[in-house]
Subunit: 465 residues, 2 copies
Amino acid sequence: MATATSSTALNYARDNQKRFLEELKDLLRIPSISTLEEHNKDTEKAAQVCADELKRIGFEHVEIIPTANKERPNAHPLVYADWLHAAGKPTVLCYAHYDVQPAEPLDEWKSPPFEPTERNHNIYARGAVDDKGQLWMQLKAFESLMKSEGKLPINVRVILEGEEEVGGESISDYVKIRKDKLKADFALVTDTELFAPDLPTLCVGLRGLVYTEIEAQGAATDLHSGIYGGAAPNPLFALIEIVGKLKDANGKILIPGFYDQVKEPTKAELDAWKRLPFDEEEYRKKEVGSNVLTGEPGYSVLYRTWARPTLEVHGMPGGFTALGAKTVIPARASAKVSMRLVPDQDPDDILKKYTDYVTKLTPKGIKINIKVHSKGPACVVSTDNKYVKAATEAMHEIFAKDTVYIRSGGSIPIVSDFENELKIPSVMMGMGLPDDNLHAPNEKFHIPNFYRGIDSIIRFFQILG
Amino acid sequence: MATATSSTALNYARDNQKRFLEELKDLLRIPSISTLEEHNKDTEKAAQVCADELKRIGFEHVEIIPTANKERPNAHPLVYADWLHAAGKPTVLCYAHYDVQPAEPLDEWKSPPFEPTERNHNIYARGAVDDKGQLWMQLKAFESLMKSEGKLPINVRVILEGEEEVGGESISDYVKIRKDKLKADFALVTDTELFAPDLPTLCVGLRGLVYTEIEAQGAATDLHSGIYGGAAPNPLFALIEIVGKLKDANGKILIPGFYDQVKEPTKAELDAWKRLPFDEEEYRKKEVGSNVLTGEPGYSVLYRTWARPTLEVHGMPGGFTALGAKTVIPARASAKVSMRLVPDQDPDDILKKYTDYVTKLTPKGIKINIKVHSKGPACVVSTDNKYVKAATEAMHEIFAKDTVYIRSGGSIPIVSDFENELKIPSVMMGMGLPDDNLHAPNEKFHIPNFYRGIDSIIRFFQILG
């Protein structure tokens, strides 16, 4: 087996770093925003770029799988490919997503979100770290192995999606009906982050998500607040009354029964978290940039963000939101409210409790409708299998440091689907950094981490082969 | 004195109705939205159209008065004109505004807001009734008198503004510094409505307004709600906590001391309101279109909307408000909150109490700033003067019914300025209808009321002359 320093594939990867980065920039220039229908041509284009590249590298059965139908006109295609000629070796199912979040608020970007720009060894663009940069790490590891050694050390299936940022319904359906096609021993998911800049990290737990929109209607039409103020119901104020009662000032969620199924982390896990290099004051200042941190008293920051359920409001469309003043009582308004779930909360159970409570809180004169944007459970992966162990070793080699295990407060519903439907564990090997501004203005990817990601995947596969 | 039926001016007005309406349509085609800077050219154009028309009619000293300066780049010009050759007769100061509200939500308009369209004897357009149609009534009354009789029966000064929908700061300043130029015995304000379709109505009371925007900041940048949910402050949720505590479910405002200065209407006024043709159930169904009416128990609808202070939230910019889902904890958000005031509440006193209370309610981790969009007191005009009496008689003649006195829940701050600065009462002779959708989609003006408005002003001036 080649060692880290003498591997032909690693040499190939290192010789081609500049080109790999330029290729990534091309992918980042495509505004493949999955939530906005006007960008459907862009999501298609991003899928096509990935498929073409897999073909070029030497993958077989490369396929763009359409998923849109009458009921879901805004669905985005999957990209599938495989190379299955490593007889007797394990099979990996490699997952990443080519869609990105919207870029708003645009005026806070220092360089335009879809014009990738290098500053301070970072590449700035929407999707740089989430997830195009990490998707491209995989493809470039495959290329390095294939072009330098003529083959891959293990069997590889690739499945890429374009709906991760909008709930991932299509891939979730596909995993359920095409278990045969996606058959593998484990999955590799590159959509997480390092705990600290040079600390090799594997993510072994994710929170689940229920993302809803409460739509409220009062009067039949928008009304003048002078003429009708004092008689007409205001759906925006009604939403304020409702959402304000969903959690208390300490972040405790007030939905009856909400915490019933919450499973606490093990003592060993909590102890390991305490040993991680984490400075709460630095996190507050550098990452969050607020004058205090909030959340439930009695839990550490890592506990609160990794293993406690939370509830947030993301936006309240309706009424007059432009600059200036308009004296309107809106006829309609809505509140985008999401909940992060932890093991063993069941998303359907939580959604029912939430719906019942919101309905109970709705004031007279207001009709509500709860729309569900996405829904998936939390997931914890065991560290006690050979794939996680090989990944641990690969990262240790490339970073020359001991690999740590963390959880993430975010949600990758596909990891649950891989576990529940395909019965395979996921190795979450992510190269993001805590200050990469994912989902925010000035999203970036640290360029050395892009290269270390490629190297780590090469070594990971070589160790398993 | 000419009688209603034999007046040459009335005949002139009636012969030219179709042309008057076509001219009004031209004015309505100009999107003079005062709150949106991108429409500044349109507000200027609307001012110019009014000035040109006053000149054509025979007014003197016609002047477009610029008001924009470094501190208020979005100020809009005033239009002044006079005709002062009725020696020994009273002088009226005629007021109307040429600016309009934004037209959003655009998709609810049956015909485009700036393409005036006739349907069912109504003219549909943004600004049709508020206030371009009522502005044009004045000009066409002046024209009818001047062109048919060669002169006006009383002295007339005209002052038109383009900032009524954004607080009217420029005219308010101008009234204070140019009292000499605006010297008059009373004002005529055409910006209110009839109580019922054929019921001659004079408005003798208006609510005041304090319109604020609470700007809130949490983290330094937008954050991912998965990664940071449980630790980062959410300014949108903070605003929900604050605004939710400003009034209770019955509409009672909870700001300490808010009701201290509230002056109740007289028993005579309350009794007169009870005699007005008002069907609460019809109002709920036809005007508001909600399944219940809201507001303080123990007060009638007219009392609640005319003589009780109220608080509304109009919009909450910030976070993700487009279609779909984005898992963001916004760094910044704001809430547009206004209060309608009644006699004798002082806007500065109310603003102070509001600011103190909002500050007190602000949760930890959130910085707030309260921006004031506009501010003006309530105003009640005495019915016991010869101008109101002449207006009462003029409308009685034209409508052939007894004129009633009402209040309006809306705010026309300039009426307070006329009272406090110029020491003159205002005659609020408005021809709108309760279902004219002002500030809302499908704003309209009932065309027969446009014509009756012209006739009523002609007779009003003739009676005083």
